[in-house]
Symmetry: D3
């Protein structure tokens, strides 16, 4: 089975970069993957990606070594299993607040006896190789988002769910849930403390940790803090930044 | 009929900015139009836009005052008329080398008796207004690209085609055709001289002038030189620039 | 933030018209919005709309003041939140039978602390404006369908869910559930009585009320009865009516 | 090979109704075909139909006996042959002004030795049957639009092109070209005279005749005049008419 | 209402063939349906079909007597009801393990008073006929997949759910859940015994039985064993088999 | 620039296999390319591929070493250049009958000074590499179809067009044009003689030769005859063959 290059990086102690894909445009995914990002996340929750776009984007990055992750819109087996069957090498589940929710999610990512994922990895076999069924459980990443006060209070319980690989922080929702501003690149002490707690808990339980960042500088600082994966850019952000050039030509 | 804001700007002596759309993604078009570009060009020749994307992108920018132009893939009535019927407020025709070709193109943009455009402006009426048929001939822009040695030698003849509005320069093809490098933001004296000739000819015959630029600085210098419309960015370029951030995180 | 024109109408005591969109065709949405309907409903439950069509249709109506609502296929956060992120200004949830179901639904429409909607309003910010996060909770409409015997018996409890804006009646399902014919424009006394009960309850609890009608005359009578929003036509219905002309030419 | 029901009708002296498809929406095509129209025209010239929509609409009507015609965007073999390969049972070519143009068009519709259509009728065989190649030349309709002053003056020459089946009148373009209003349902004496000339010429040379109408009454009068096929409605027109109901609810 | 030809076959004691559709390609569905398969299954769980493809494929087979079934991605009313509204004549639900789950599923397939399916069969009426609402409950098939150890132990309870029509066996998942190999065309005694138990239980409770097979020979043997419906091929399998020809030309 | 593996094979004296893609389905293309075909042809003339499908299929095969060719619908620069910009490594042009037509075609494939291809290879650079512009003229294949009596009589003239790489035989059209049956795998002596003439002419002028075959055996015999590229299967053919299994289960 094609290796999960994120796992390989972590094995040798290296963190990983991640680029967020909101636009559902295969050529954009291709352009980005060819630039050497360690991983991309196809966002079905807040992005313009539905199942057809997931399939097209997974195809678009398959000529590179960039690892494709999919963020599903909600903790639903229908979406989790379809993303994996299409070739995702990891799934990020938003809004996981309890151990029970985490178990439901991880179970959908794993084949029996570790979980209840249904067998039928059509495109995944083309991408991963003929021995996919044998190695899928150890190769695919199950990632939960910790992004609410409730999740924070349950983070130790959640971390003990067997088969879970990473805690990923969504700073906007986490901030809002803690009664602070819903923003990225948080410097609010209350949110920063929460982030530190989650990071520490991940390390305690042998899990990887990840966080969504807006600015490259903040992302770099998160790597220094010890995160294993930092999202440091998004395709939508690239367009927004570039489009602002209009102001220079306004007259 | 909805005014062509490019014409309005030129009427008061202002030049116009233009952003190139390669990706065929409606939300990208929306993001860009909302940033205040004076115009966008939906590129069917070298971009990922086919007729369906043209329709979607024209719809996406219609809530703004950004003027939508379409570059057709070739000098073919089938594409020119369909772009206009879908609501384009101007068409850029690539590779126009002779007066005869320019006449074929301009005729496809104009209704009789000025041309031979067929009547049936379905979406154009929704976008432009119920009096579209009456004012279309004076509102829509017919733009030819001058981008070969042959076109250069015929530029005065081409400029006299009735109903033509603008000469637009494609620096890559022009450079290559003149035996120089096929690149943007040309500084090669041979190509610069050709650019100056085209600009001067446009002004002599009362036509507007436009040019495709890669860097904002070069685009700004072209405005100073007297161009009426400068393409100063593209959605694909924004992605390429943003995606290069990967290098910072490579380790 | 762009105002919700439905709320503005109701503020000055005016009811609102609504047109149903089944066909998932952006140009159809554009044609209809430009005719001056106060609102449209993009139907994901019984219509041909999936997420891609929702995005395209929301874009298509954004150049007008017509307010776009989305009916989700079922009471699922995945669909509710995605419709809002794409720019819907209200969500209609089918088959809400209990207070608990209504709370689950309304919670998905509202940001914390009123609900649990996840932060990430990509296109919604383009449509609504940069202060979207600040005003979303008071601008977006949460609408439940009362369309079963069970819902009817729970209607007072449902009406007390905080953050709910409207009770909307689905006459076919309501009729069937009450053991009557599953039809629109109900005149069956049992169903009419249920409709009156729902309308009265809405008014008692300060909620708006809405109903799906087939004929314009019935819709007009519902306005007179006191409904705040009446669905008076659908794109599919327009085609069906127009297509029947075939009979005149059959020979 | 599946019979061309238009030819069958004409064989027994009956005229045919035609409904125009602008919207590129398969379910709309299905709804319309099931109402009993004798034929539909998928409009690639002024409608929202590109090749993908042509394929989907041809599939959508294939469960009925409604005969599918395609109007190509221009007199180009690429579009004519692809429409036929996808299963169209006739092609309408716009803007045919000369005998030479008509020959180029008819040749693209017919297999050798009558023309130069390339062999490869993939979906056409599924729709038409395994003996498609044998009967295609006599079953498929080649229809030219007479819609300019030039075409009018060449109409007798055009009518003698071997393999041509019908002269179809586009009243808007014809009117404009004759210096009159570009409108449908023409009553302008100059245009009416032209229409009568075309109709008469068709009959003289044994060709069928057709005309695009807006109102059913006008269409009915054209049938009485002797036309063999009248376009009496369009999907876009149905939406426009239905959407106007908004005015009744405006307050 | 158009008859369900599967029910008709079973009424006269004949079993039925089934072809699996993974590729979401309408023309493929058309080719297959025209070859005379008794039924096809559009697979939304492991195939490339989302709602748009379901609509297109249902349209593609509607000109034939092949009965279209849809396998939904999970036991969710949103997907079950939308497939039926689009014209599916039966739904296969994966991973049904308990009586409660089976009831939730069957309820979504049936109108009140037998279930809670919402009324709004748009395309289903075009396909099924105007009396669809009256006969839907007795014409549409509700099929559950028995494919886990837990389902096996609950199979008698599941079989007693009112309105259920068939037990369908997914051999891969069943094998894996029983601690054996996740493969098709099972010969493992443990799995074979489970298959026999399910088949016997179906017959005992008057239900139909179905099974997914890879090879035609195995499928034929399952017919002899008494299954009422055997899946004997898939579009993806046809491509895989044909593509292997490459080996012959490798040199 | 990524090498053209067809040229590499021919350099070492090996012929190449080719698989035809009619269905426009990216996963099918992926499945086929992963089986090891030397090349695929995306057919825009008789297949279901339009520009969007071409882009998706080119992406789908880019993770393999299979060389992607595109057959354009007709000899039009708009299609030829767009296919190349999207990453095609060769273009097959149908129905080339004269030297002049061949020159028009080859010119559209080559950059100046060899031709008039416009500069703007967006996706082609991602696929081919940053030095694409420098090596494109020697890497991309220009292939003409010889498939008419007229082409046959002009074959020596056509073969002398500079920049042409291959003569490719379409046996159906060739047969029909010669007054024989329009079929594949021709054994008719008249057609076989024509095939031999074309093959011989290709060799005489240093061109490669190719032919479309239906059966593997015929394809193998063509390799023995000396053809450099044989089309030995199509995705549509695989489906047709597999679907015929229905007959075995008919009862």
């Amino acid at each position: 089975m094609r290796r999960n290059e994120l796992i390989e990086r972590w094995r040798v102690g290296k963190p990983a970069s991640n680029c967020w894909l909101m636009l559902g445009q295969p050529f954009v995914a291709e352009l980005i993957a060819h630039q050497g990002w360690d991983s991309v996340t196809i966002d079905m929750q807040h992005g313009l990606n539905d199942f057809a776009e997931v399939c097209a984007l997974l195809t678009a990055v398959s000529a590179t070594s960039t690892v494709p992750l999919v963020r599903v819109p909600w903790n639903e087996p229908r979406d989790i299993m379809r993303a994996l069957d299409a070739g995702a090498y990891g799934v990020i589940c938003p809004n996981v607040d309890t151990r029970e929710q985490a178990e439901r999610f991880v179970g959908a990512v794993r084949y029996a006896p570790l979980g209840y994922r249904s067998v039928g990895p059509h495109r995944a076999i083309v991408y991963g190789g003929p021995d996919y069924l044998k190695f899928a459980n150890e190769t695919l990443l199950a990632i939960v988002q910790i992004e609410s006060a409730k999740a924070l209070s349950n983070v130790r319980e959640i971390s003990q769910v067997k088969g879970l690989n990473m805690l990923y922080i969504g700073p906007s929702d986490l901030g809002l849930s803690l009664g602070r501003e819903p923003r990225l690149d948080q410097t609010d002490p209350v949110v920063v403390e929460a982030i530190d707690t989650i990071l520490k808990t991940a390390k305690e339980f042998g899990l990887k940790s990840g966080i969504y960042c807006r600015s490259p500088d903040y992302a770099a600082s998160m790597l220094e803090k010890g995160f294993d994966l930092v999202t440091a850019a998004s395709d939508e952000g690239m367009i927004l930044e570039g489009a602002a050039l209009a102001k220079r030509f306004a007259r």
